[in-house]
């Protein structure tokens, strides 16, 4: 995986652990961002590595969330099982949507996923006896694990149930969400630094040449699309168990675009970018809340400008900028000395 990624992961882990202690009053704002970050990692594999764009990831996010919500609330199924069911459903749906459009080149996946996202949104609104319609439904249980520790009620030590209660215990939910994001990042880094990752990058660079060299491009594009849908689905499930209430607005096309924006801003050829982008774009409303009415313009503008001027994203953009400064200084120094 490389030493640099290893060091990065250690720093990242320390940052996750330290954040709630350093920003004890505001760390909870990073919980939804961690959820987005996880979905963005999945999308970054598709967008940055396979070079395919999905404008409908909110649909998979919705499938995960609603599957978790509906199965746990209406059928009393264990939340972990429900997450699995959501992933399975998302994967099947992604396969069906992705197969025809990925066989074609260029824009087809973008449009097909955009249309698919809208269809899912319409269904969430219209299929009200299952989804609760526009008013949604609540009462989704918290996630819990069985572990060895002190029981929350009796205080006894032993095998007990630990509940990630989003209201009483934001800290545990924070660690859960960012722990999942950390795991997702490790997973993605391992994947892209393997023969699969190289195959994906080859497809992004020159699909025809990759095919002729023995990389089944169509096959991989579908696989990675399904994988990224599964990431979005897990993120959706986490969201459902965190907010414990579901209604359609968070699953509109806007969320799909926001995810694309996170990946692009962070830098699409770098999985780390998904984390950076998620934090930057997720915190933006906090930082410039006075621009509330300008959101669409601001985000659209950022998307445009980043793509036009720093297509490598802010992470690599900063690195290139620093290199350029150093190169400039070295050059002027040598001029002075000579």
């Amino acid at each position: 995986m490389g030493r640099r990624n290893g060091i990065g992961l250690i720093v990242f882990a320390l940052a996750i652990i330290a954040t709630p202690w350093v920003f004890s009053a505001s760390f909870f704002k990073l919980i939804p961002i961690g959820i987005y970050a996880f979905a963005a990692i999945g999308l970054s594999l598709l967008l940055g590595y396979a070079g395919q764009i999905s404008l409908g990831h909110a649909a998979f996010y919705a499938i995960g969330a609603y599957t978790s919500g509906i199965l746990t609330v209406r059928f009393g199924i264990s939340p972990w099982m429900a997450i699995g069911a959501g992933v399975l459903l998302s994967a099947v749906v992604a396969f069906l949507v992705g197969m025809p459009s990925l066989r074609l080149h260029g824009h087809y996946l973008a449009m097909a996923t955009l249309a698919f996202g809208e269809i899912v949104r319409v269904v969430l609104d219209a299929w009200d006896h299952i989804t609760g319609g526009p008013s949604g439904f609540g009462g989704i249980p918290s996630l819990s694990i069985v572990w060895l520790g002190r029981d929350a009620e009796t205080g006894e030590f032993g095998i007990t149930k630990f509940v990630f209660d989003p209201i009483m215990d934001e800290l545990s939910i924070f660690y859960l969400v960012w722990g999942v994001a950390f795991f997702g990042l490790c997973f993605a880094l391992c994947l892209i630094n393997s023969r699969i990752g190289r195959a994906l990058r080859a497809i992004h660079s020159n699909e025809k040449a990759a095919n002729v060299l023995g990389v089944p491009a169509g096959n991989y594009k579908i696989k990675i699309f399904v994988l990224s849908a599964a990431f979005a689905s897990i993120a959706g499930s986490l969201y459902a168990h965190y907010v414990q209430y579901l209604n359609p607005p968070p699953f509109g096309v806007w969320t799909s675009i926001l995810l694309v924006l996170m990946v692009i801003v962070g830098g699409m050829r770098n999985v780390w970018g998904a984390i950076i982008g998620a934090v930057l774009m997720g915190m933006l409303p906090e930082w410039i809340s006075w621009m509330e009415n300008y959101w669409l313009v601001v985000y659209g503008g950022i998307l445009l400008l980043v793509m036009m001027f720093i297509p490598q994203g802010v992470l690599l953009g900063c690195r290139d900028f620093i290199r350029w400064i150093f190169g400039f200084m070295r050059k002027s120094q040598s001029e002075v000395s000579s």
Binding site: L47, G51, I53, L55, V97, M99, P100, S101, R103, L104, H105, G106, H107, Y108, A110, M111, A112, L114, A115, F116, E118, I119, V122, V123, D125, A126, E207, K208, N211, A217, G218, V253, I257, V260, I264, N293, Y294, W295, L296, V297, V298, Y299, G300, G301, I302, L303, L304, L305, M307, M308, P311
Partner: protein
């Protein structure tokens, strides 16, 4: 009242479907013009329709201009925006990838949409029909006078475009670019101008579609995306790049949607138009009247 009793829902649905379908057809033509000239799918296409509609409302109700001038003004402004968009966001790119172009047109779409929200807020607007509010009864269906305006506009657009592409030098040059960009450039056609022209032209058509459909449907800042998606569905259904196909497919799509809304559920109206897109991509990506190239790509 006895007229109402004689209504035939089927024909009524078809009639109102044709009006929306004509709009989709115009959006689809807009997609095709840019696609043919550049190979780009312009994700901001639907926003041109929205802008055209809202500007029309503004010109009529705030400036109190007559209908013709209002349409003209709306079309001119949107055309200028289309050209500006091409100059500022598309042209500066050197060797852009398909991915970059998709993302940039999406960014553009959001900037346009957001600006519209700032200017007009989140309210819906509409204006009275161009001529009379009195519906005309035909075969048991009430046809709004505005329907004729929409059909007529589509007819005129198609007529003018076929004259433009068939008989003017500029139009022929644009077709040459669509056929083979490199060869066109070598034979002295300024491809950059053609791209700019394509953006202007398709923005104008989008705006026109928006301006004539406002009296039938209300318009707000967020409507552009749906017009864009349905227009794209029509473009794919008709075979991407094939404008005759786009007209037929657009009208078919409008009718289908209207029938589905009438007989199944109006909740699912939007979903059905889009499901058509997915089904076509699945079954016949070259469209009903498609050209061979696109299906050839599917071999990989």
């Amino acid at each position: 009242m006895d007229q109402a009793a004689a209504t035939s829902p089927l024909i009524q649905y078809i009639v109102s479907g044709i009006a929306f379908g004509s709009t989709y057809a115009m959006v689809a033509i807009g997609f095709n013009i840019i696609y043919n000239a550049t190979g780009i799918i312009n994700f901001a296409q639907g926003e041109f329709v929205m802008l055209g509609g809202l500007l029309m409302v503004w010109a009529c109700t705030v400036l109190h201009l007559p209908i013709t001038l209002s349409v003209l003004l709306a079309v001119c402004i949107v055309t200028a925006i289309g050209i500006l968009f091409e100059r500022l966001a598309i042209r500066p790119l050197k060797n852009p990838s398909v991915l970059a172009l998709i993302i940039i047109t999406i960014g553009g779409a959001f900037v346009i949409k957001g600006s519209a929200m700032l200017l007009w807020g989140k309210d819906s607007y509409f204006i009275p029909q161009f001529t009379s509010e009195e519906s005309i009864w035909l075969l048991g269906a009430a046809i709004k006078p505005q329907d004729f305006w929409v059909w007529g506009t589509l007819g005129i657009v198609v007529l003018l475009l076929s004259l433009f592409f068939g008989y003017t030098m500029t139009g022929k040059a644009m077709r040459a670019c669509a056929y083979n960009r490199v060869a066109a450039r070598l034979s002295g056609i300024n491809a950059e101008t053609m791209v700019m022209l394509a953006f202007g032209l398709s923005a104008a058509i989008g705006a026109l579609a928006g301006a004539v459909i406002v009296p039938i449907t209300s318009m707000d800042y967020s409507r552009g995306e749906m017009f864009g998606l349905k227009g794209f569905s029509a473009a794919i259904l008709g075979g991407l790049g094939n404008s005759t196909g786009a007209v037929v497919a657009g009208i078919l799509l409008g009718i289908l949607e209207s029938l589905a809304a009438g007989y199944i559920s109006s909740h699912y109206k939007d979903a059905i138009g889009l499901a058509v897109l997915l089904v076509v991509l699945f079954v016949r990506p070259s469209g009903l009247f498609g050209r061979a190239e696109i299906s050839r790509l599917s071999e990989f």
